[in-house]
């Protein structure tokens, strides 16, 4: 298994996203400590009410990953996740291609359909059309990335004889799709490179409008089914799951407990673990990155957990 650090989100209206420390510095600490990836989430237009009731602030993930690309050489760079219907697919494709080019082919597009209605309105997108917009984006992205001339006539979106160059080094850029619905899993099996299942407290599933999955046997069965559905591609699919146990951030945490939990992820077929950062200070975040690196991500023992 490989390990991805999610730069901490900031819940609520107060404070500043960068309070948790300079992005470039933490990315370098993560790379040196043996982590394998760095990620940012996306909320370009959060409403005040949503922020007051548990929503979180973000940095623009493409801009932030462009920055991280310059100061790292090995880390994979993930949007965790980018809401595909939020952007015109051309704009999305260009931003993704630029991160991929500037990172020498280290970008992964983590994608979701979205759930925040007011944010959809602010971005000028019909919430009820989010699934067909998502599918149209999946159609357009590889065409844009190919660097070849193309036209596209979709239900929501069309282009005549356009060409986007330079092309990104990864052909195509890997797409990981987040969410638990049958539709999501069908999409992954047919046309994506990875699945990002969600599990956690019940409230998470209400807010994010996705069916619940528990971390144990249910996850293992879902992953096995997904690989079977994907046929020949099944074995190559990545499965990236978030490890949200809060005690992992404690300085005196019981690492044995976390190793056991992560071993069960590995046994279920998870290939990447995403660890959401805990908002804090530069020192607290850097210290966590180093501790986790020493105990799990960068240690020889990590292969034992995967």
């Amino acid at each position: 298994m490989r390990f991805m650090y999610q730069y901490p989100d900031l819940t609520g209206l107060e404070g500043d996203m960068l309070d948790s420390g300079p992005v470039g510095e933490l990315a370098r600490v993560a790379e040196d400590a043996g982590w394998d990836g760095f990620s940012f989430t996306e909320h370009p237009a959060p409403g005040v009410r949503w922020l007051q009731t548990g929503g979180h602030q973000t940095l623009d993930p493409f801009v932030a990953l462009g920055y991280v690309a310059a100061v790292t050489s090995r880390l994979k760079l993930l949007t965790y996740l980018s809401v595909l219907p939020y952007r015109n697919p051309m704009l999305l494709a260009k931003a993704a291609a630029s991160v991929d080019i500037l990172s020498g082919g280290r970008f992964i597009l983590g994608a979701g359909t979205g759930y925040n209605k007011s944010e959809f309105h602010a971005l000028g997108v019909d919430f009820d059309e989010r699934n067909s917009l998502f599918d149209e984006a999946l159609d357009v992205l590889p065409k844009h990335w190919s660097g070849e001339p193309f036209s596209y006539a979709g239900q929501h979106f069309s282009a005549r004889e356009v060409i986007a160059r330079p092309r990104p080094p990864q052909q195509p850029i890997p797409i990981w799709i987040g969410g638990n619905s049958k539709l999501t899993r069908r999409r992954v099996a047919r046309r994506a490179n990875g699945w990002m299942p969600m599990f956690g407290p019940e409230a998470l599933f209400t807010t994010t409008r996705t069916p619940a999955i528990s971390a144990g046997d249910e996850l293992a069965a879902a992953i096995a089914q997904l690989r079977a559905d994907a046929g020949e591609r099944g074995a190559e699919l990545d499965v990236a799951a978030a490890y949200t146990e809060p005690s992992v951030h404690d300085a005196d945490t019981d690492w044995g407990k976390h190793r056991d939990a992560l071993a069960s992820f590995a046994a279920a077929g998870v290939t990447w673990v995403i660890v959401p950062g805990q908002a804090g200070t530069r020192d607290s975040c850097a210290a966590f990155l180093e501790r986790f690196g020493k105990e799990i991500a960068g240690s020889a023992g990590s292969s034992g957990a995967g």
Partner: protein, 330 residues
Amino acid sequence: MRIVVQHAIGDPAWHPSVLAPPFVADFARLAERHGYAGIGFTDHPAPTVRWTAAGGEGSSDPLVSLAYCAAVTSSIQLMTFVLALPYHNPFRLAHQAATLDALSGGRLTLGLGTGYLRGEMHAMGADPGSRLASFDSCLETMLTAWSSESVSGSFAAPEPGPFSGWSAREVHVQPRPVQQPHPPLWFHGNSAFGRARAARHGAGWIGVLSSAELAATMRTAHLPDLAAAGVAVADLRRRCVAAGRDPGSVSAGLGGLWPMLDIREGWDAEAIVEAAGAAAAIGVGTLFTTICGDDPSAANETLAAFGDQVVGPVRDIDIDIDIRHEEQRI
């Protein structure tokens, strides 16, 4: 006199290696070391085949690319040169600009334009007929977003479709830009539209000297020479005064004063320094240059040599911003 360089990917004959990571980092550091005031990237997410074949610029996402440059430099200004505002949603763009301003320690300058490529606008879901209205609406929404705790508002595109309008209640745009209340805005375009916005909201205006043909392609007024640019700058100053702003607080920038630089072709440094002096005399304080991108080492050598021969020597030229003086001369 300040010189801003557009990254070498802007050369229509660009080679992919000029956007490879080590080169972009070297280019940005080199520009900083040789005294360039800023580095710029343009915005072409979906250019048409026809325009590209006819010599359109190469491009990468400007905000992503500037973020990359921010991480490897410490003082050079990072400039979108320019963003086509009708391609963007105001909340996201305000958020992206704030992200970049925060990551770069307050070095972002937003160059803004209306866009002119019909085929690209179509692919972006933007209506060419309402590009000016959408520009203004986007601009006003961003200004409110940066200066207030929250912003509400809507824009109905004449041809409704995804990504072309918006309707928002109390959106909170964050992070707070380092530059308060927002990164400096420079308005691009030879016609009065850009100067009117620059006089009201801008830190600068950007004109481009060009052939009549290029001006027609870019759907803007034709500025054939410095005399014409002088008239435009005087118009900018008058508009600043009318808007109740100190005319000296809005810079005038000019591109196209000399052709794309290429060390293999050489240039007449003396004539360029002289032209920069003439531009300063009409009140232009920033000059934009393009640079060859077909070969990374040629691009780097060009950047360094032009820096030593021109960027350094013109730095101390004083800019004449006396309005009366300009009006008499013109």
